[in-house]
């Protein structure tokens, strides 16, 4: 990662094949089609706050280059009872981060004798990403509900930024739906409106982004708990197909 000449987010994803530390020799000996690409959750992830909780959603494709390694991935990873993280970027890196943060939060909630705040979870994720910013390729969203501030969505993108946003997108597929968000998101939407917004957004991204696909996994998190909904391929909302 060249600090003086930083890449844009998309360009970094394309540079994935150059970042592999292993199989350097492969490049010279084996034709490109047969070389192993790092496994990435080239992805679409969406999270939105509503009054009383958050709604998060993701596609279900994990790809290794052009090979779809897993077509029904669960990118909604639970950190605590009421806090989830959405993973995009390198599958290995984000899984490692989620595991470490789950442990940290588990330990903290035992010490404090109460569930951790969403902000604390987001900070733990951000600290890891920032500390290993030159090695990791992880763009994560931390979203959940806590007693103090209700539903919250925090964005923790590549370099180690932490910012709370009422709605945010992530992953390679998100580039295709920022316009959809700008046009269709309004503050103070109801739970059902937010659900439709998230589902439609993921569907639109899936239809345009090669690295996103499969089904849509959605979770609704509020004070009463977590409701998980898997919307299978056929049930995704219809989008005009040329």
């Amino acid at each position: 990662m060249d600090v003086l000449n930083p890449m844009t987010y998309d360009a970094e994803e394309d540079q994935l094949r150059d970042r592999t530390k292993y199989s350097q020799m492969d490049k010279h000996l084996i034709p490109v089609e047969f070389q192993q690409q790092p496994v990435s959750t080239g992805t679409t992830i969406v999270a939105v706050e509503y009054d009383g909780g958050v709604i998060i959603g993701a596609d279900t494709r994990t790809s290794s280059g052009t090979f779809v390694m897993n077509r029904f991935t669960d990118k909604l990873t639970q950190l605590t009872d009421r806090i989830f993280c959405l993973r995009s970027g390198s599958a290995a890196d984000t899984q490692a981060i989620a595991q470490v943060v789950t442990y940290q939060l588990d330990f903290l909630s035992a010490e404090m004798n109460e569930p951790p705040l969403v902000r604390i979870a987001a900070n733990c994720v951000r600290r890891m990403i920032y500390q290993y910013r030159d090695d990791f390729l992880a763009g994560m969203i931390v979203a959940g509900w806590d007693k103090k501030l209700g539903g919250q969505v925090y964005s923790c993108p590549l370099g180690g930024l932490l910012v709370r946003q009422p709605v945010t997108l992530g992953g390679s597929g998100s580039t295709y739906i920022w316009g959809y968000l700008d046009n269709n998101y309004r503050p103070n939407m109801t739970q059902q409106e937010c659900y439709d917004f998230v589902l439609k957004g993921i569907t639109l991204a899936i239809t345009r982004d090669g690295s996103s696909g499969g089904c849509a996994r959605i979770a609704i998190i509020n004070k009463d708990g977590v409701e998980r909904i898997d919307v299978l391929g056929n049930d995704l909302p219809k989008v005009f197909d040329l």
């Binding site: 903290l108 900070n123 932490l162």
Partner: protein
């Protein structure tokens, strides 16, 4: 109350035959010899009042304060050996700083009290160190209301509605028990705390003393600080007036 350890009191790593650690009890004696601290948990905040005894007219007023800040929202008042307290203050500030770095939010006072208690307890386990000779009071106004914690030299910590530590702790405790703390507002609590300090102050043994007052509550948005000058003046005059009243009552009898 005081019994001589006779042989089992030389180090903190020894129990006495009746199961006491005398070094820790002696540390409490150091606390009891210091100027009184009164803390009141009122309905909407916490008031600290400290009787800072001045041993010489040559000292600059305001030196050697006994009320400090650990992070913006937590106040610490100390009774006992001030030098020991200074180190604990540094430890507490370090804990608060590390928590903020790791978790991004301000440290809850309950958690800080637990960490400080663990630290103080560690010094009661070994023969090559001595326990801390101070009683630490921690106060904060958090989202679930005012919280007041006290940490003893032995390392136990309790949450309090009201507490007095130091020379006149017994008399002060009796005074505190007369108050209805759950209905007391912070502005009145400050006056009451100052009054108690003036009442229990021993004019014969310690001629000069400085009153230190601080508060944290809804009134200053949870930011612990010394009381503003006018409030301080009002509290002091309230305290002095009630002293005179008590004198008058005595005369009438």
């Amino acid at each position: 109350m005081s019994s001589i350890g006779s042989g089992y009191d030389l180090s903190a790593s020894q129990f006495s035959p009746d199961g006491r650690v005398f070094q820790v009890e002696y540390a409490n004696k150091a606390v009891e010899a210091s100027g009184t601290v009164v803390a009141l948990r009122c309905k909407d905040g916490i008031a600290f009042a400290v009787e800072k005894i001045i041993t010489s007219r040559l000292y600059e007023s305001g030196s050697n304060k006994r009320i400090h800040n650990v992070d913006k929202h937590i106040g610490m008042a100390v009774a006992g050996l001030l030098a020991d307290a200074r180190q604990l203050l540094t430890v507490a500030r370090d804990e608060a700083k590390q928590y903020k770095y790791d978790y991004g939010v301000s440290i809850p006072v309950k958690y800080l009290a637990d960490r400080l208690a663990m630290y103080m307890h560690a010094y009661t386990l070994y023969g090559f160190v001595r326990p801390f000779g101070c009683f630490i009071l921690l106060a904060a106004y958090e989202s679930d209301g005012p919280q007041l914690y006290g940490v003893e030299p032995s390392g136990v910590t309790y949450a309090y509605h009201g507490i007095a530590v130091g020379k006149a702790q017994q008399t002060a405790k009796t005074e505190i028990e007369k108050l209805k703390l759950s209905e007391l507002k912070l502005e009145d609590g400050i006056n009451e705390a100052a009054k108690i300090i003036y009442q229990v102050h021993d004019e014969v043994k310690d001629r000069m003393f400085e009153l230190e007052l601080s508060w944290v509550g809804q009134v200053n948005d949870g930011k612990h600080e010394r009381v503003p000058t006018q409030i301080f003046a009002k509290a002091e005059s309230f305290a002095k007036a009630s002293l005179e009243e008590a004198d008058d009552d005595d005369d009438e009898m």
